[in-house]
Amino acid sequence: MATYHIPEDYYYSKDHEWAQVDENIVTVGITEFAQQALGEIVYVELPEEGQKVNQGEPFGVVESVKAVSDLYAPVSGTVIEVNMSLTDDPSVLNDNPMNDGWLIRIEMDSEKELANLMRSPDYKKLIAEAK
């Protein structure tokens, strides 16, 4: 069984996105579990800078050869940075989803929303059950 890199200082959503919080700036990506479940990613569609996103709602898509999957925002806020390198080389999402494969940075509206996310022990439990 594969072991996943699940940093303790990140937050996680039930949709298998991670959120790294630095004051009010949240960097968002997909987890290694999500990457593996999706298979080879061939296309990424991301929002524009300045776009508003809402917690739990789709902000973009990733496509594997086989299927389209929505990306869900872990927190509400404004997109302030987009990882454009992914549009040219989506395979980074498979190779390194926790670092170079980050998707967007959000200026978070309210820290309170973080309470709706999981910390690493709960996320580990979730993916153990998903197997």
Partner: protein, 363 residues
């Protein structure tokens, strides 16, 4: 709800670490090592597919031929012992119940029909309802089926079954033995590659699967999941029931006129299928490529430059061979010529595309 069905090779897939999914009520491998890698292995070497979920329906007796002639669109009378043909099972409304392969075991007496897993019960009921006196037996639960496909497929099958499959003509079959069990080796397939589909009684299927994997190691044999099966057939623009064909779409519009023989025989639904054709078909099935960035998927709508809806995508993916998006769609007849440009609505974005030659890859 009926319980999920398992093929006799289920344990083999789990042993190989396959990702298993539900497909038409069956617990099936969608991927073993990676869709692209599996796809390319079939194009370059050889792949094994568990297609045991497909149905096998036997037609026997003095009325077997007459019944099949009535039920199908291709000429069953043309088949001699050991020959097979692709054919269609039309309904009485101008559409299709299924697409099938008919195998002639003994001319005028004994035929096997291979049908889609998702349609098997519907097909059997339809055949029985419109029977012209044949003995029709659903043998699906007795048979496993392994497809061996790729440029090295027949080399491998020659080793394991010693039936000289590599010298067989396309769409023929031989009946032989594997460890005492009856095996039917047919030079048919769904990938565009050389190869065969092997029917074997369920009990001996795991041994045959293992022998093919073991004796094909130096040929680079690899088990292939349903994911790559779909991209392989899409590259060839082979129809998949529920996508390119269904119970309402006209088979001529789907480009399947080559297996419909109205001038040589009468068959179920002939009048309706021909009436649509003679009226002029509104839409035709075409292959297309994207001119701007985006991947077409089943159900996406097509538009012309005046924003008129002119069709719908039936299948779409990224071609692993070409490494670019490809799609199959029904498009208004006036737009169906090669080079014709149009737009695919991809999640609200109108992305430019162009009708292209098919198959997408040249074999």
């Amino acid at each position: 709800m009926s319980e999920q069905k398992k093929t006799p090779l289920c344990d083999e897939h789990i042993k190989l670490g396959a990702r298993m999914v539900d497909f038409a009520g069956w617990y099936m491998p969608v991927q073993y090592i990676g869709l692209r890698e599996e796809h390319n292995n079939v194009r370059n070497n050889v792949g094994l597919f568990d297609v045991s979920h497909m149905g096998e329906i036997r037609f026997k007796g003095p009325k077997a031929l007459a019944t099949l002639e009535w039920l199908t669109t291709n000429e069953v009378t043309k088949l001699n012992d050991g020959e097979a043909q692709y054919s269609l099972l039309p309904n009485d409304k101008g559409g299709l119940v299924d697409d099938i392969i008919v195998y002639c075991v003994k001319k005028d007496a004994d035929y096997m029909v291979c049908v889609n897993a998702s349609n098997k019960d519907k097909d059997f009921a339809w055949m029985t309802l419109n029977n012209k006196g044949a003995s029709i037996i659903d043998e699906s639960s007795e048979w496993a089926q392994i497809a061996v496909q790729g440029p090295k497929a027949l080399t491998l099958v020659d080793r394991v079954l010693a039936n000289n499959a590599s010298s067989m003509k396309s769409f023929t079959f031989v009946i032989g033995k594997f460890k005492g069990a009856t095996v039917v080796t047919a030079t048919t397939g769904y990938t565009g590659e050389k190869g065969c589909e092997i029917f074997i009684k369920t009990a001996e299927a795991p041994a045959l699967w293992q022998a093919l994997l073991e004796q094909g190691k130096d040929l680079g044999v690899q088990a292939i999941g349903l994911g790559a099966r779909d991209t392989l057939r899409t590259e060839m623009k082979y129809s998949l029931y529920g996508h390119e064909i269904d119970d309402v779409k006209n088979p001529y519009a789907a480009g399947l006129g080559w297996v419909i023989k109205p001038s040589n025989k009468d068959f179920m639904g002939k009048k309706q299928i021909l009436a649509d054709k003679e009226k002029g078909l509104n839409q035709l099935l075409v292959g297309f490529k994207m001119l701007d960035k985006g991947i077409p998927r089943q159900g996406y709508e097509l538009f012309d430059k005046n924003d008129q809806n002119i069709g719908k995508v039936t299948s779409g993916t990224v071609s692993p061979t070409l490494d670019e998006p490809i799609g199959i769609a029904y498009i208004a007849t006036q737009h169906a010529t090669e080079g014709s440009e149009f737009f695919v609505d991809i999640r609200g974005r109108k992305v430019k595309a162009k009708v292209c030659k098919t198959p997408f890859i040249q074999k």
